[in-house]
Symmetry: C3
Subunit: 432 residues, 3 copies
Amino acid sequence: MRDYTREIDFYCRRLFPITRSITGDGNRESLKILQEIVPIDILEYPSGLQIYDWTIPDEWNIRDAWVKNSRGTTLIDFQKNNLHLVSYSTPLHKTVIYEELLGHLHYLEEMPEAIPYRTSYYEKNWGFCLSYRDFLKYFEKGESYEVFIDSDLGPGSLTIGELLIPGLSPKEYLISTYICHPSMANDNVSGMVLTAFLARELLSRSPLNYSYRVLFVPETIGSIAYCAMNTEAMRTVRAGLVISTVGGPGGFGYKQSFDPGHYINHLIEQAFFERGIGFVTYPFDIHGSDERQYSSQGFRINAATITKDKYYEYPYYHTSLDDLDFLRPENINEALTVYRRLCNKLERNLTYKNLRPDCEVMLSRHGLYPKTGGGILPAKNSPSEVDAMLWLLFYCDGKMSLFEISQQTGISLETLYETAIRLEEKSILQRI
Amino acid sequence: MRDYTREIDFYCRRLFPITRSITGDGNRESLKILQEIVPIDILEYPSGLQIYDWTIPDEWNIRDAWVKNSRGTTLIDFQKNNLHLVSYSTPLHKTVIYEELLGHLHYLEEMPEAIPYRTSYYEKNWGFCLSYRDFLKYFEKGESYEVFIDSDLGPGSLTIGELLIPGLSPKEYLISTYICHPSMANDNVSGMVLTAFLARELLSRSPLNYSYRVLFVPETIGSIAYCAMNTEAMRTVRAGLVISTVGGPGGFGYKQSFDPGHYINHLIEQAFFERGIGFVTYPFDIHGSDERQYSSQGFRINAATITKDKYYEYPYYHTSLDDLDFLRPENINEALTVYRRLCNKLERNLTYKNLRPDCEVMLSRHGLYPKTGGGILPAKNSPSEVDAMLWLLFYCDGKMSLFEISQQTGISLETLYETAIRLEEKSILQRI
Amino acid sequence: MRDYTREIDFYCRRLFPITRSITGDGNRESLKILQEIVPIDILEYPSGLQIYDWTIPDEWNIRDAWVKNSRGTTLIDFQKNNLHLVSYSTPLHKTVIYEELLGHLHYLEEMPEAIPYRTSYYEKNWGFCLSYRDFLKYFEKGESYEVFIDSDLGPGSLTIGELLIPGLSPKEYLISTYICHPSMANDNVSGMVLTAFLARELLSRSPLNYSYRVLFVPETIGSIAYCAMNTEAMRTVRAGLVISTVGGPGGFGYKQSFDPGHYINHLIEQAFFERGIGFVTYPFDIHGSDERQYSSQGFRINAATITKDKYYEYPYYHTSLDDLDFLRPENINEALTVYRRLCNKLERNLTYKNLRPDCEVMLSRHGLYPKTGGGILPAKNSPSEVDAMLWLLFYCDGKMSLFEISQQTGISLETLYETAIRLEEKSILQRI
């Protein structure tokens, strides 16, 4: 298998510094870079558009922001780290006293070196984030400060990247990642890059058995907007993957889709087992990423997430310490390997119908069986190809999937798939 | 919580001495006393009425009964204990020899102090019950005895007490107790009194979410008659409680309804757990009390019974030793607390439908969410109110009840109920 | 229970020597002998008939076959053992050199005394089977051999034995055995004889509750032909038994039908338990005998097999050592006892509907209950007849079978059956 680590690293370094939010030019710039990997279509949904219970907000763009003390010394500088500014801060230029400023400063006492990540998308507000160390060093009672935020907040649009990869069947799998986080590496430069590379691999295969809908959306508002504007298509998606935080130094894990018995969860576990990778299982939770939308009653898409250092769980989560030192491109390459293996399994999980359901098929007539009888015993240890054929003929009723037959018989999905293809070529099984 | 022990004691002492049977004035007198607690309606079904496979029998009333020896000494005296007479004994006045009398005497060799309780409702007969000690003392071969039974057995009616407590929903819970046992305290003076007190509490609450149908019936024939005369209403009852033997000195227990997975059984166990009360679980059995009728194929009402010293199980069951020394009014008060807690839970087990099923609701728009994002992690230990909201929005599909959501999420029914009420006020959830 | 061992032995000795195959006079001769036991109907399906994916082959009859060396000494002689010839060998008379002959000789190096059993039904070919010992002794490089096969292979028919035993219900159980194996005793002289004796017993009972379809078919092609020619009847069979290898010295076992929860599997286990017989459980497998056809999608008959020394499992399987020394007629008699007990259980697994579903039936009115109340407690240890009645009235809804009620209540199928018959006589339960 090719190792894409260097290429992954190249894209991570280019994407990391860009200021992204739920809208704005940073998102467009990021998608443009990803278009170098795969031909993503760009969708723009205008501010003010009603999407279910939500409204697309004004577009936010930011040029500069700082806080200076009364001696003109810059204490907080957006140019040094875009996390310093609360995302969606309104334009401002004024002098404020310590007490007023304090309500607009965010820091983490328990992690004094880290700048936290904060947003205020739907409540008009402004604020700065800084390390607790800097807060103690630079700010004190009785002082006054000059605050400058050079942002635009007005009608514009929300930007989404979409890539539709057609397969032999119109039935779709959803692959979705989020593009709204500014300079944090594992969350979610890693997810954006992995998604693009995975999409490139799928595109390169022809023909695919299933179709794939690949989305690059601002979290929550973006996936809601997309669902609202593509309701019919989204209501029939078979299952989904939400790609996030796949490049940390910690362990692998996966968050289950809402139905723990769904095949996507089983297939993820198989992919881990086959790669010999230990993993943590996170049960479905209504917190998380865009699976919250895709799993809602209107859509009920079983969407799972494979992670390496899962969001919420690693200490640097949503801070400036989630940077390019924390991220390891070789981890993304390894996570890509697991996702690739999973997609192979999704591709093989077909459903067939036995066209000759009455009694056994005469395998020898179709060139599928040894010709001298009387001495052939069933295979004692591993199932033979004849075993796989006979079980497929027994179970393929147009409803039971190859995954389910695999669970029932203990024969691997891969063996069943290859055998089913042979029987399909003989017009004995028909793909549903 | 108020302690009703003294009030309960007062009613137990008044109800205990009355001679009750499946028909007769004793039942009317008992219901009249209970009417002091709650406004019970009295229904009279006439003798001869066909009710399914049964017929309402003649009404039986008894004034006096005794057995004297040839010297005129009274050996058995109904006035001293109404258990001495087999219920429904036909009128009689004659002298009989020992051998004939013997076939009409009932005693318990294994419990020589106790008078057993016997009936002969549907086979015309007569008989006396006495302690084995008295039997040995007073009766001997060769003697003859004067037997006197001053009873009426003729056309009349069967008496039932009914109380309908309306709630916001027309969907009903059934609460049923039996009133046909003469002077036995735990079985079933305790059940009659508890039922009246529980009904009084339900009546005092307004509005109730559900409706309640409270019945005071002669066991078997009374519940059958009521089902036959109220078939349509009884066919749609959600679940039921049959109240019996709740005041003995022994342990708490409950008899499960026929479906052990039904929520009424789970909720009873929760009520016990929350009160810190150990209990015995009795699986459903076709023997028992009026749940036999309510659970029959025509009605299939899941009806459970909470007991303290369950019928069949305590040694004094169906004997004169089940008296006011055996019964403890404070036990009835404690059992009432468990039943009250159970009813609270039944009241909270509503079913809701999410009116905005597509994607998440924007909680902040409805004043239901903190406004600055990026720093809110899911609650690690106990679920927050936001968690409860999100799970409700995820699961409330108009079919899944709050109890089922509680089982699925581990969030208490009480928390889900309070949260659902908030979402109902915002017109996000709709009660089904 | 009568011991049929001597009679069984008599028929085994007559059937063993006959040369059977999937067609031919040997099959007709065998069925004629079995007709002495039960009045089997003979069906003939002509060569060339299309049956699903298969075609009925030409009929094969064999008179003689041998291999001689150049000195005229007979090295292999069909007259001594009909396993010496590969079944369906084409006619031949020629001299061949060692190298050519070698490709047509079959032996077992690992069992040097045994002649293996081989067939070539659908690939025109010829061959001889012999012990490895004889192979080493008689054949050597450089020699040439005279080969003679005096067989007919031409249009004719495939012979099937059928016996329809009508019962009160038109619902059928299938009992099927195969008649295509030449001189091997456990496989399947034992199955043919047991099937005939079991059918004789069923015939002698009148009336049976269910109907039985008893088949004597050549394996695979025979059961397929029968299914194809009797599709409608076969699609509605309730469950089936495939009878094979029931007379070996090894242990009892049974192969489950495809649904391990099906009652036929439970009832077989009960039959073993009640006889105190240990047994091996073989899960369903797509290899096996004619259950492969009966279980196929078009029919989905749950068909199980009780064995004593199961095919595939015993070392002498499909060799000349499976002879009359290996077979023990007393084993067949014992297996017959288990099958008889199973059929008794199938007969008792009726389904009833309670004609009085509303509330309890008044048992005393129907003469089904003791008449004095108040002193009757539920039976503590084993269920009383009243218990059985009450549970039947509770569960019999026209769908739940007596087997299912037995599983639910722990009351034996036998007790439930007898009690149901009493309630049927009183017109309280109705047979479905």
